[in-house]
Amino acid sequence: MDAGQLSSWYDAHCDRLVLYARNWLPKESAQDVVQGAFVRLMTQKAAPEDVSAWLFRTVRNAAITRLRRRASRSRRHAGLSAGQLPWFEGRPEDLIDARTAQEVLLTLPAEQREVVLLRIWGQLSLKQIGEIVGRPLTTVHSRYKAALAAIRERMEQSCRTPTD
C-alpha cells in the first residue's frame, strides 16, 4: 500500500465512514475512530480484498468498543437524540429535508439504522452488510425493508403534521 492508494480511499470513504460511526458515537469520537481505521489500514501487510467492507467493519468494531468503554446504552441513546450535529448537508434540490431525515433515522432501532446507513450511504450490498454485522442475508434484508417502511411512515407523518 502506498500513500496514493490511501489518499484515494480516504476521499472515497471518509465522510461515509464518519456518518456510519455516528450511529454509535458523537461526531468527534466518530472521527477519531475513522482516523484510527485509516491508520490501521496502512499498517496492513497487504491491502484487504474488499477495502470498503474492511473499513466499515473496522470502524464498526472500534466504535462499539469505544461505546462500551464510555457509556451505557441509555446514555448513548440520549447522546444520539439530543444535541446531534447535522448528519447531512441540506441543499435546496434535496427531495427530503436533511434534518427531518436525520430525526427519522434516529427514531429507528439501532440495528435497522445501521443497515440503512451501510446500504444507502455506505453503498454496500446486502451481502457485504451481512458479513459486516455478522447476520444472515435474510435478516439483513428484512431489517432493511422494515427500516424503509418505518422511514416512509414517519416521513409521511411529519409531512401531515403542520409545522410552525
Binding site: 475513522v34 485509516f38 491508520v39 496502512m42 448537508e89 441543499r91 434484508h141
Partner: protein, 152 residues
C-alpha cells in the same frame, strides 16, 4: 446499488431520495491522517527490524552460553608431571637409590680382598673353600666403597 430484489417502487424511490442527501463532511485533518498512517506504517517496518535483531541477539547469547568448554590438547610434559605426582615420595626415593642386598655387598668385598691377595701373593693366596678370616665387614658406605675401589 445491488440486491434490491424484494423492494417495491416506493421503497426504491425512498432509497433514491435518501441517497441524494449529501453527507456532512468530516472535519478530520487529511494531512494528519496521512501523516499518522505513514508513521504507523514505518513503525511496523521498524518493529520488524527490531524484532529480528532481538531474535538474533537472543540466539547469539544462547550460543555463547551453551558453547561447550574447549578441551586442552594432551601435552607430554603434563603427562610426565601427572605421573610424577602420582608416585609417592617414598617410592620415588626408593627408585633413585636402589636397594643393595647385604649378601651381595659381602660377596663383593670378599671378591675384592681375594683379588687383592692374589695380586700381592700370587695364586697361593687363593683360599680354599673357607672364607677369608677376619671378614667382619664394616658397614658399606660410599666412602668405604671408594676406598676399596681405589685400593685395587
Amino acid at each position: 446499488m445491488q440486491n434490491t430484489d424484494g423492494l417495491t417502487p416506493i421503497d426504491r424511490e425512498l432509497e433514491a431520495a435518501l441517497g441524494g442527501l449529501r453527507v456532512a463532511p468530516a472535519t478530520i485533518s487529511r494531512n494528519r491522517v496521512m501523516f499518522d498512517a505513514g508513521r504507523a506504517s514505518a513503525r511496523r517496518r521498524s518493529r520488524l527490524w527490531q524484532g529480528s535483531s532481538c531474535v538474533l541477539t537472543v540466539l547469539l547469547l544462547a550460543s555463547v552460553v551453551s558453547r561447550p568448554t574447549p578441551t586442552a590438547p594432551q601435552r607430554p610434559a603434563e603427562t610426565v608431571a601427572e605421573r610424577k605426582a602420582d608416585i609417592s615420595p617414598a617410592a620415588l626415593s626408593a627408585a633413585s637409590t636402589p636397594a643393595i642386598d647385604a649378601e651381595q655387598v659381602r660377596a663383593f668385598r670378599r671378591y675384592l680382598r681375594m683379588r687383592q691377595a692374589v695380586l700381592e701373593r700370587g695364586i697361593d693366596a687363593l683360599p680354599g673353600s673357607t672364607e677369608i678370616p677376619g671378614s667382619i665387614d664394616p658397614p658399606l658406605t660410599r666412602e668405604n666403597l671408594d676406598e676399596l675401589l681405589s685400593s685395587t
